[in-house]
Amino acid sequence: MDARQQILDSIRRALETPSHLPDEAAPETLSEAIAIPELGLEEKIRLFRDEMKAVSGEYIEAASAAEAAEKIAALVREAPAAEASISSGPLVDAVSSALSAGGIRLVKPETLEGDARKNAVAKILVGIVEAPCAVADTATLAIPLDGRSMQAYFLPEIVIALVSAKSLVANHFELFKRMPPEERKNLLLITGPSRTADIEKILILGAHGPRRLVACLMRD
């Protein structure tokens, strides 16, 4: 008999005895625990900003693409860097020409193939990316793996992520509810810069991924 059949058979045999676990009443306030709160835009922005700071991320805001480009350019220069890898997407597209005009060389991973791509992106200090959706409650960026290159999201040391205020959802329940089923299946959720506390529980930012994560909220 093959392994699959044997495992399923032995599970079925095991389950012939019903559980002796105490009967569980359905939790009464359950609906509240998994509810999607009605939050106004400003409230979501405030939550997102506070949570981002709480997870050692950084937060900036911009009222227009031009303002975002200006602030991002300043961050790149401060890094200090003269180039950045970028993700695809409308928010990045909106700032990229201004960034290039400002003298920052932008590398689009999609223009490179295979080993050349990862090796190039890994050498670039800064990544400028966008999150199609973000969760206010935990300051989580949600990026579906929809064919875009993901490398600029996790290979650079400094990642600047553009987020549209309109795309903020209250919590994870809302996130998964809103997202098309096909998109949820291949998804990266990012909450803050990478970290470890494996040595004496001392928190150090920048484990194998980014050391800094800057969220740039676009109010536009």
Partner: protein, 464 residues
């Protein structure tokens, strides 16, 4: 270093003498507990989430056959290859087969207890495949040829000085004990490996039944690098790791990080539902899921103990356990340790090899209280103690003691004499009676002068 659960008594003795390890474990567990408590306190729905999590897991486990079959179908529809492994050896050979078919020479691994359980690392290395742990803590313990001493913090028993020494000796770098410098060393070494690896191996925190995808939580970005860079990805998953749907996944995404590290959310949640390379030109072109039984279906057969399969491996019960805090993870002699380990060891390894594990508990109940899945660990430990005794595996002294007591209990006169004697004799001593083994670490309580019988009679008289 191969540990054995049957050697627990020796390990405990050793651990109790090692003040450095005890200090490290104490500090780490207290930090984790404090952070968790902070986050639980600000979540008004914590108890409801626990109930919901328990109910969801119960639903999945009680129809595990159907759920696994559905999960398999969904995974296949998503373009993944699903393998079934009855035991550790079968799982290892499946992974080796995948590696051989694809000429894999280097593997990067992200932290996974399930792969520890099947000793995958050593096996692949012996087969000539370079296999590297990439979680910082796991990397450190791998250099030492140890196993993790905690479910979520593998190197919790080591100090920065230890790590400095290990890196100096094993990696040939200059000694430093500055944590940021130590991390930088590991990061640089491993970055190279990530970029060059042929295959990534991970565990799975949750398999989403209705969507056929694997959810992997982490903080370091090493799982992302393992799953997002090499051409082949293998996810090794215990058959109990399923959750029903995306509707309920957030319940687990809330319960696990808070319980494990006191984080509201882990830094990365990787949801893997199929190969990516043909769409994006990067990431895996093959995704394999290895479904591992290795004793789980046997655990399922017990109508109560099956609850131990609800465990989401957060490690909170370890942190809060007065025994774990004293002895650390290696004392248990297996990859699962602490209160939940104490229930799993005899179930996986049998009542002979695991005969001591259920007794490594004071039955204080702290584990049940803290467990996000509300697993009734103390109850299960009692049941497993029973099993050990019934199998004739309890300690000889204990058996003799119980036999004497049973004899006396059936002979009231002798019983009275026997209980009268210690109270009297004790007066000659300063402290309490010395009990071999026990008194080495603490004092036995003093016998009451009156004893239960006298007190009871008095009570009875007074209440009349």
């Amino acid at each position: 270093m191969e540990l054995r659960a049957s050697e627990t008594k020796q390990y405990i003795k050793k651990a109790l003498k090692d003040d450095a390890v005890r200090d490290a474990v104490d500090k780490a567990t207290q930090t984790a507990l404090a952070k968790r408590a902070e986050k639980v306190a600000i979540n008004p729905f914590w108890e409801e989430l626990r109930k919901l999590g328990h109910a969801a897991k119960r639903g999945v486990v009680e129809r595990l056959d159907e759920n696994l079959a559905r999960f398999e179908t969904e995974c296949r529809n998503n373009g993944m290859t699903v393998h079934w492994a009855r035991d550790a050896a079968e799982a290892r050979s499946i992974v080796l087969g995948i590696a051989r078919d694809n000429n894999v020479r280097t593997v990067v691994k992200s932290k996974s207890l399930t792969t520890e359980e099947i000793h995958l690392n050593k096996f692949l290395i012996n087969e000539g495949i370079e296999t590297l742990e990439t979680d910082l803590g796991e990397y450190i313990v791998q250099l030492l040829d140890q196993i993790p001493s905690h479910l979520t913090a593998p190197a919790l028993h080591l100090t920065r000085k230890d790590v400095g020494r290990i890196f100096h000796e094993k990696l040939g770098v200059e000694y430093t004990e500055v944590p940021t410098e130590l991390l930088a060393i590991a990061r640089a070494k491993l970055r190279e490996k990530f970029l060059a690896a042929d295959m990534g191996i991970s565990g799975v925190n949750f398999g989403v039944v209705d969507s056929g995808c694997c959810v992997i939580l982490e903080n370091e970005c090493n799982a992302r690098l393992s799953v997002g860079v090499p051409k082949i990805h293998v996810a090794v998953m215990g058959i109990e790791k399923l959750v029903p749907s995306f509707d309920l996944l957030p319940v687990f995404l809330k319960l696990l990080p808070v319980s494990a590290t006191g984080q509201k959310q882990t830094v990365y949640v990787n949801i893997v539902g199929g190969p990516q390379r043909s769409r994006s030109g990067e990431g895996p072109e093959q995704v394999h899921v290895v479904l591992l039984d290795n004793g789980r279906s046997k655990i399922l057969a017990d109508p109560q103990l099956r609850e131990t399969l609800f465990c989401i491996r957060c490690g909170a019960c370890l942190n809060t356990c007065p025994i774990y805090q004293q002895v650390g993870g290696h004392a248990y002699g297996w990859v699962y340790m602490g209160p939940i380990g104490a229930t799993l060891i005899p179930q996986y390894l049998g009542t002979h090899e695991g005969r001591y594990a259920p007794f490594t508990s004071s039955l204080c109940g702290a584990c049940r209280q803290i467990c996000p899945m509300s697993i009734d660990i103390p109850h299960h430990l009692l049941k497993l103690r029973n099993r050990v005794v019934e199998a004739g595996e309890s300690m000889a002294v204990e058996r003799a003691g119980i036999a004497v007591w049973a004899f006396l209990a059936k002979h009231p006169l002798l019983y009275r004499l026997a209980t009268w004697f210690p109270g009297r004799f004790q007066k000659l001593l300063k402290g309490s009676f010395p009990a071999p083994g026990y008194s080495a670490e603490r004092a036995l309580g003093r016998f009451d002068d009156k004893g239960f019988r006298k007190r009871f009679l008095e009570l009875e008289k007074n209440s009349r």
